[in-house]
Symmetry: C2
């Protein structure tokens, strides 16, 4: 099986690559893995597996040819401009998240083999006045350019799937915490920082109110969901290719309480509570909980507690 | 006031132009009207009003400059590839309905004056399993490429409005009947044909089941709604720029019954009931009725009966 990951240098891409190499996909070994990102990726050498790095723009036809010219069985499209970045650079947000996704869908269509196409959407699909528990049938009301581009991606993937161009699947992923690595330009970056940095003995800023509702998933669950999304029978999805994932409903206050339990009071004390209006405007527009009825029926699960999420981070990263 | 209409050669564009020239917009006379369509339009000569025709592609920057280079106060963007046509030519559907709309939004943004930007979406935003009465909060689930492109347009207009690039408004227009002129490539074209042609002594085919639910508006109501959408106070809309219009819930059977009452049994007998699977697949995916709660609160109205719609058609066109 030949699999392409875009945004492969990101933490989800790297974790996904490791899982695909160890477990395969749909019971079949991955014999070729193509890792596409803006900059070249040092591909690990593994016997019996070809791992290739493709670097450059999603819209670059030479890159598309290098990545997919030999055909592809499954694409995990993770490359995206994140929320605060798209809010600061509208044109870049549209170029990467809409035009890039469309270019990739077009390249898949050109193959004529209807490859599996898995990509992510976000809680940022929603904003404004919403029910406390957002049902699967809730109309997306993005209040950020990132969210808008993600919903456009959902619509395109569903229609390309309906037309038989790709076997598309989109998962709406909760805010991921604890991300390894450094803060990024996602408005939700703090949701990882306020756990990760204190555990490393460093200070972190929480830019939103302590009681802000947050819909969370661990990186482990997010990767499991990506693989599961690729493996689900297309017939179980029908024409609607968008799956809102279950998550853990929490708040920064509850997160730091769990941090105190696991990392000690000193760790929790490293969180500074300094509100930032720009970040807060984006994050507070996101719903705090989703019913995720369809995802649960399809067998997607959520983390049980913040303590479990922090423990998993310590096991995986520290 | 300087106003641009795209798709100005279409029947809605022509009717809208006439209303704008006679009534103005928001209490201000229209002193310049730009009529943009693929082919040149013979502009009527009216004293004190400049009427200009711009012909060519929405993506053509020279056309954009010709249409909007002097600034614009309001844009009515009606140019679109219709439903059956977009289903037959996927790339054309995306090019005109997504790229064209985005190009126009971009040209408005470049002006830096946040012009009013009114465009249309459709019942085709919805498909699949839906409640009998679709609420305003229902998630769009297009089951046609046309519907998908229209929802993408909604999302773009709302976000361009949120960013202050345009003062955007999108109305989801019910199926319009009775359209004057000839059948077009809309899957809903029959909804006009089965009234219009029999009244002209000609035969018409109804390609869907007699009891298919149809959500209808007269051309008069559609034009009134376009003008009203442009005139509503932006503060009343907030960040959500999409308005699902009220309509008349009917069926082809009820429509031909009204036709028999007004045009006589001989007219109704000119309707042939020959089902077409392709048309039916599209039309049957559309919901039969919308709550349209928000639109009603904003003062948008619907036609009272099919009889009234047919009478208005006779008055306006015959």
């Amino acid at each position: 099986m030949r699999v392409l990951i875009t945004g492969a240098a990101g933490f989800l891409g790297r974790k996904l690559a490791a899982v695909l190499l160890s477990d395969g996909l749909s019971g079949t070994a991955v014999h070729e893995l193509i890792l596409w990102d803006q900059l070249p990726i040092a591909a690990p050498e593994i016997s019996d597996v070809i791992i290739r790095s493709v670097s450059g723009d999603l819209l670059d036809e030479e890159c598309q040819e290098a990545a997919m010219g030999d055909g592809i069985d499954a694409v995990f499209h993770l490359a995206a401009v994140v929320s605060a970045q798209a809010e600061a650079d509208f044109d870049l947000g549209l170029r990467v998240n809409i035009d890039g996704t469309r270019a990739l869908l077009g390249a898949c269509r050109k193959l004529g083999t209807c490859p599996r196409f898995v990509t992510t959407s976000s809680v940022a699909a929603f904003g404004g006045e919403l029910p406390d528990l957002v049902p699967d049938t809730q109309a997306p009301t993005p209040r950020s350019t990132y969210g808008m581009t993600k919903v456009v991606g959902e619509l395109m993937v569903s229609d390309y799937a309906r037309k038989g161009f790709v076997d598309g699947r989109v998962i709406r992923v909760p805010t991921v915490s604890v991300r390894p690595g450094k803060p990024n330009q996602a408005a939700s970056s703090f949701a990882s920082s306020i756990i990760r940095e204190p555990l490393n003995g460093e200070a972190a800023v929480c830019p939103v109110a302590p009681d802000t509702p947050i819909w969370l998933t661990s990186p482990r669950r997010a990767v499991t969901a990506l693989v599961k999304a690729a493996e689900i029978d297309a017939a179980a999805l029908g024409d609607d290719r968008v799956i809102t994932l279950p998550g853990l409903r929490t708040t920064p206050e509850e997160m730091t309480e769990a941090l105190a339990r696991i990392g000690g009071a000193a760790a929790a004390a490293r969180v500074e509570w300094t509100r930032n209006e720009d970040i807060e405007a984006i994050v507070a527009s996101w719903p705090g909980a989703f019913a995720a009825t369809r995802a649960k029926a399809l067998g997607f699960g959520a983390d049980e507690s913040m303590d479990e999420i922090i423990q998993a981070h310590i096991e995986d990263e520290l």
